[in-house]
């Protein structure tokens, strides 16, 4: 014994672990009578469940308590669903309640919960497969009792809000054993003959047994299979049926179903007049803009005096042709002058012209032009060409006047 000493915390934790690992305690239903029922400011509900010989501490947290569809009171017989665990601080075990229903409908409640779980897992409630509702339904099929307040409420609200929708009543029984097959038949029939583009099905308020047809699996599946979108409108505000979960839209009551089915003509009229105003404003603004643009364009000189623009262009054209003409004349003049200059220099270079100025050309006997006296020797024959005529001569004496030649001759 001594080697196994727990602290209080360790013991409570140990017991808590034991209880939490027990599958039977993790989801169970307990029947009992409520006592000492307290709602704390935190939103959590604390109470005790009793029977003749025993009591059990219970807590229902805010999230679960918000889903209660009735108001629990001390003394009431209830059925609680939840799990048992230990609250280590107090060393007390308690029932953590996730759902509570008044007893007496306990069996129906269980059936409801089971069906709901099953259909949910099958995906019948998935928001991804909800059909969109028509904005302005042409024909609305109302599947409900032909007598009673519900059908009258629906007709009245539809007529007030949106009289353009035709209303087709498909009367069915809405309670009793015959109700589910009749509702299913009407939904299928409406789809088969495409009699409407929207279905409202439901009934007025009543006891949970009265509403039971709308918790029927066959009805749920017919709504699910309907190609025409379905609004469920069952009972009073807090009643939530299986049909509500499967329907494309859940309405709290039949009147609410009619409200959700159609737009309000007054709103649509507002929208139309708003569209009208917007269109007019846009068009007026546009016309103003275009007018301004026009005014701007008209104020340009070309628009005010189109001849001026043509004249300006004509002047520019004249100036250009003038420039072209004078440019080509100047070119010609330059060429002419350069030709004359070339002729003159050609003339100046002519050897005849040089000879005519008194120069002569000396050639050796071999005919080569001699420009240096030192290239000749005394006695050598030379030929002298003059401007007019030529001489045959003999060299008498050589006179060198080039200083370089002279120094070569006289060392």
């Amino acid at each position: 014994m001594e080697e196994n000493i727990f602290s209080v915390t360790e013991l409570n934790e140990h017991i808590k672990n034991l209880m939490d690992s027990d599958g039977a305690l993790s989801r169970l239903c307990v029947r009992g009578e409520l006592s000492n029922y307290k709602v704390y400011p935190s939103g959590h509900h604390y109470f005790t469940l009793k029977d003749k010989d025993a009591s059990l501490r219970c807590v229902m947290f805010k999230g679960a308590a918000q889903k209660l569809v009735f108001r629990p009171e001390s003394g009431m017989g209830v059925l609680c669903t939840g799990s048992v665990s230990v609250y280590p601080r107090d060393g007390a075990y308690q029932l953590y309640v996730t759902r509570m229903s008044p007893e007496g409908v306990g069996d129906l409640y269980l059936a409801y919960e089971q069906l709901k779980d099953r259909l949910q897992q099958e995906g019948l409630f998935d928001s991804s497969r909800k059909r969109p509702l028509p904005l302005y339904p042409k024909t609305i099929a109302v599947i409900t009792s032909g007598a009673g307040a519900a059908v009258r409420d629906v007709i009245r609200v539809l007529g007030k809000r949106w009289p353009m929708s035709r209303v087709l009543i498909l009367p069915v029984r809405v309670q009793g054993k015959e109700a589910p097959p009749e509702i299913v038949g009407a939904i299928r029939y409406a789809n088969r003959y495409r009699v409407a583009d929207l279905i409202i099905t439901g009934r007025g308020g009543g006891s949970i047994e009265d509403l039971w047809a709308f918790n029927d699996e066959r009805v749920a599946r017919a709504i699910y299979a309907s190609e025409i979108p379905v609004i469920s409108a069952v009972g009073h505000e807090p009643d939530v049926t299986i049909a509500d979960f499967v329907a494309d839209l859940r309405a709290a009551t039949p009147s609410n179903g009619a409200e959700l089915a159609v737009p309000d003509a007054l709103d649509v009229r507002d929208k139309l007049s708003n569209l009208q105003t917007r269109m007019e404003q846009i068009l007026l603004r546009r016309l103003r803009q275009e007018k301004q643009r026009l005014a701007q364009l008209a104020s340009r000189r070309v628009m005010e005096d189109p001849a001026a623009a043509v004249n300006r262009k004509r002047l520019a054209c004249d100036a250009l042709s003038q420039r072209l003409l004078s440019a080509s004349e100047r070119q010609l003049q330059l060429k002419r002058e350069s030709f004359v200059r070339h002729c003159a220099s050609l003339d100046a270079l002519s050897p005849l012209k040089v000879l005519s100025r008194g120069y002569s050309v000396v050639r050796s006997e071999s005919g080569e032009i001699v420009s240096s006296a030192s290239a000749l020797s005394p006695g050598e024959r030379i030929d002298v060409t003059m401007a007019r005529g030529a001489l045959s001569c003999r060299v008498e004496e050589i006179r060198v006047d080039d200083p370089e030649e002279r120094s070569a001759q006289v060392p």
Binding site: L135, Y136, A141, M164, I169, L275, M279, L283
Partner: protein
């Protein structure tokens, strides 16, 4: 006007027209045409609303299975 549009088609067309006008990308001439069409649609929708009178019928399955519409009397059941 060409083929008569139902209310939803008219509203959709109207929204489209107003959006096109608001974007201001259509030529002026076309804007005027769209405006006229829009105004006619609005007038037509308002007329439909003015003249609407609720029709309530009861649907009955005939012996052949075909649907048949009868007057609805709320006291039938």
């Amino acid at each position: 006007m060409e083929e008569k549009k139902n209310f939803e088609e008219s509203m959709n067309r109207l929204e489209y027209i107003v959006r096109s006008l608001e974007r201001g990308e259509v030529p002026l001439e076309e804007s005027l045409t769209l405006f006229k069409e829009g105004a006619a649609l609005i007038a037509d929708c308002e007329k439909q609303l003015d003249e609407a009178e609720q029709v309530v019928r009861r649907l009955r399955k005939t012996e052949s299975g075909e649907p048949e519409e009868l007057p609805f009397d709320a006291e039938d059941a």
